[in-house]
Amino acid sequence: MTQSPEVNPQFELPSNLSLLETVLVKFLADEVGKTGCEKVVVGLSGGVDSALSAALAARALGPENVLGILMPYKLSSKESLSDAAALATATGIETRTIEISEQIDAYFSQFPEADVMRRGNKMARERMTILYDHSARQGGLVLGTSNKTELLLGYGTLHGDMASAINPIGDLYKTQVWKLSRALGVPDSIIDKAPSADLTPGQTDEDDLGFSYAEVDRLLYAMVDQRYARDELLQAGFAADFVDKVARRVQRSQFKRRLPVIAKISARTIDRDFRYARDWGL
């Protein structure tokens, strides 16, 4: 069933690739430079999001200032590793591989009943701690790899793959990520494969989510960027249950996009009435 109208140009996501490249490369050079760091550290999953972040950083900072870390678990697909290697060749960045199987297995030997979600979250957070350790080791910022689609849907692990210091692709929908990746020379094998969190063999994001990125990007673009109301979306041809399901996901994952809730006691509470730019003092 078609859940979102395909032919209405109104809902086509704009993708001015040369403009995106210009702005995102300048963004990285400016915002990383201000912190006094020259380097970034990025976890390479073999997927397109981390590939694009790394490719942008290589352009902005020079490939010698980007360290890509592959952190496979024993069940991770072998293609993920070869794809990440192909990206390193294409961009000229340095990579290293750090296996996480031992520490993950040691932990879950105490909790053998843990389901795929718990295991996946644990792996994502394990990888995060490795990236932040290398951030300290290298004096480099952890580069974000979450796109706008997954940030809005909450399709990511809080304090895991969602954790970073700076994210060049967080305002790009997945379909825009694909297009820009192609333009920047990310290897086709990375762009063309079905997106997957690579938690279990054969798993794909689109099966997990129950809709395609092409469909949900059109809906999110209309709903979030263009501020179409529910009845306007239905009138435009989006299926009601699809709209409701996605709207609920966005709402329920709001906590993942914010700091923890702080109980207000004082006259000046952090992030409520103590307000400064994140770039404060940089």
Binding site: P14, S15, N16, S18, L19, L20, T22, V23, K26, F27, D30, E31, F274, R275, Y276, A277, R278, D279, W280, G281, L282
Partner: protein, 285 residues
């Protein structure tokens, strides 16, 4: 007032909440503009302080009788300039102001009237609102100053033109946002360019638009500063997204010619406008 003069625009990337560093940038830019023979240099909105100041507004504010303003006055003894800063008034209000420094003195202050407080903007939370749109006699010409969002309200350029301005001076901190296919700039930049050029043509005046560049908290500013002539022609244009200084000679005779060709201002019926405004106001009460 001269018939011909040279205007420079300083498309800078200020450092957030660091007035001392930004003052150094001002000094360098003034030297450069002076080398180019500029009679007037326009700095972007809040370029002495950075834009996303939030709770730092009071920390970086400048008293016009204080030491920072004294330095700025000193710096204006060669080339006149328009500074973008947080002005602290004697009654402790904070304004997003464009301040004219000419020949060692403060010759005019425009306090931003329309403080955007929607979308990514939160200015009304931090700033007091200006209450006046007026033209004033600058050394170069009779001009009116409109800070960024002021320009988006057609009433401001209308008032300025009727008040005799031959140029609109617009310091800006305009963010890059929105995307269109096959453009070399973002959507916001393109919209601004429609406004500056249409306004110049409608009223037969010059527009000196000085926008900043750089990033704050992920927000990029698009630059693209420009001097637009009275027939909508762009006399000079700075690049998008990178720091630059541009400068052009302005010949007021072009405004004269435009107003002969398209005498919109001559035909403007102020009484009608006043009557209709009065009617609309009464209807709203």
């Amino acid at each position: 007032m001269a018939d011909r003069f040279t205007v420079a625009l300083a498309q800078v990337s200020p450092r957030l909440a660091d007035v001392e560093t930004n003052l150094e940038t001002y000094a360098e830019q003034i030297r450069e503009a002076s080398g180019l023979g500029a009679d007037l240099l326009v700095f972007p909105e809040l370029s002495l302080t950075g834009y996303h100041l939030k709770d730092d507004v009071s920390e970086v504010a400048t008293r016009l009788d204080g030491p920072i303003a004294r330095k700025l006055r000193e710096m204006s003894k060669g080339t006149a300039f328009v500074a973008g800063l947080v002005e602290e008034s004697p009654d402790f209000q904070f304004y997003n102001s464009a301040v004219w420094f000419e020949d060692g003195e403060i010759s005019h202050v425009h306090r931003k009237v329309y403080l955007p407080t929607y979308g990514m903007f939160d200015e009304n939370r931090y700033f007091a609102r200006g209450r006046r749109i007026v033209a004033h006699e600058a050394a170069v010409a009779r001009v009116a100053t409109l800070v960024c969002e002021d320009f988006w309200h057609p009433s401001t350029s209308y008032l300025a033109a009727l008040d005799g301005a031959l140029a609109l001076v617009c310091p800006s901190s305009s963010p890059a946002q929105g995307m269109a296919e096959d453009e070399d700039c973002d959507k916001n930049a393109r919209t601004w360019e429609l406004f500056t050029r249409a306004t110049a043509q409608v009223y037969g005046l010059f527009v000196f638009y000085a926008n900043r560049v750089g990033f704050e908290d992920g927000v990029g500013f698009w630059g693209g500063s420009e001097i637009v002539g009275p027939d909508g022609e762009v006399l000079v244009k700075a690049p998008y997204y990178e720091a630059a200084m541009v400068c052009a000679e302005v010949d007021l005779a072009a405004a004269r010619r435009r107003r002969i060709v398209a005498p919109v201002l001559r035909d403007e019926d102020l009484d009608l406008t006043a009557r209709e405004l009065d009617r609309i106001l009464r209807g709203r009460q």
